[in-house]
Subunit: 221 residues, 2 copies
């Protein structure tokens, strides 16, 4: 499919654009490949928009001493808007984006999108609407952090991971899980040990296999 | 000042509205008074928009077991948009709003504003832009919760409070401060005792007085 045809399907505002502006956006789009764990965006400047074509991106916050917390993930078809802070002037916080898996993206140059969004209310609207919808994801994470115990958060994380990957397993190291949840590896290792002793999970060499989903759900919700 | 005249100054989209729609919004605005600590909005339905005229509103999250966390405050001139979730369909989380002080507000009925925002892109834009700008406030709170120790958060809270009220004092009970920060009263009492012993604050009968702002800043930032 040509980029024009893809954008026509993808962007709700496409029809409102003049032909020259459609071309302008297409000319300012690059296909980019990211290796697993390669950085896509850091807090330096306005990188632009990314539409995930394959793979998965992860958006997270980073503290001065290197602590991370995962805010949400972007799957094929999702768009990363917060990496274009110059489009959303009211967003004043820093986020980081990495490729969680090998990924292919369309990358729209920030200046071009910003220019178009200043000239079309429909485009501005789309950018804001996309950002606001992510607000809800972030609030859900925040509610977990503030109000839930770590064992509950771990249970939710395992359930959401298996739902995303469509298996019963989460093939991550304890270190990686700890990073997602903003805690120490030791905490995760201890909790997984408890869950294994209760027969809820099995710790394998590749990661974790859920053996009693019902029980894990009762911990999570 | 008439409501028409006020809205003309207040809303950047006002000029774009037809005369009949201006009247429609004015007719659907009520002046409302809230006593100190009176609820303004809970998670039931779509209450509408509130423009603070005097006093102060507080927006917070609430856990099932009654734990709170303050997200931000609204001062005279500020607008509360998240209490109108039917205007922002992509916002799917629950927030609560209380009057932190005796307050007067203009209350715009949700259905009327929603109707107008569906018909004017400029109005939709304004609503989204307002919501997104609050996103940054919430992320700042979140960064504090995730990455900062409670003594740092307490120092930031005391500094921001005195900046807001323009004095050197924070006249709140330990209980109230604890609620703002989502922790237990005992934790706050213990930390304030430490700060007092270090000569940073003075605990008075009415609350807390900051005696060494420079030192408090060095703890906070």
């Amino acid at each position: 499919m040509s980029l024009h045809a893809f954008y026509e399907q993808y962007f709700p505002f496409w029809k409102a654009l003049k032909e020259e502006d459609k071309n302008y956006l297409c000319e300012n789009t690059a296909e980019e490949h990211f290796d697993k764990e390669q950085p896509v965006h850091d807090n330096m400047g306005c990188t632009g928009l990314f539409i995930v074509r394959s793979g998965r991106l992860r958006l997270y916050m980073l503290s001065e001493d290197g602590k991370e917390i995962t805010l949400y993930r972007l799957s094929p078809g999702d768009i990363c808007m917060l990496s274009a802070s110059c489009v959303l002037q009211s967003v004043t916080f820093d986020v980081y984006v990495d490729a969680e898996e090998e990924s292919n993206c369309y990358h729209i140059r920030a200046s071009a999108f910003s220019d178009i969004s200043n000239r079309y209310l429909e485009v501005k609207n789309y950018a804001l609407e996309t950002a606001v919808s992510r607000f809800s994801d972030v609030m859900w994470i925040m509610q977990q952090i503030v109000f839930m115990s770590m064992d509950k958060r771990l249970a939710i994380f395992l359930l959401e991971e298996t739902q995303t990957n469509g298996t019963d397993s989460v093939n991550m190291t304890h270190e990686t899980i700890a990073r997602h949840l903003g805690t120490a590896r030791e905490v995760i290792t201890r909790m997984l040990k408890h869950l294994a002793a209760d027969g809820v999970i099995e710790v394998t060499r590749k990661g974790i296999r859920i053996t009693d989903k019902k029980k894990l759900r009762s911990i999570a919700y």
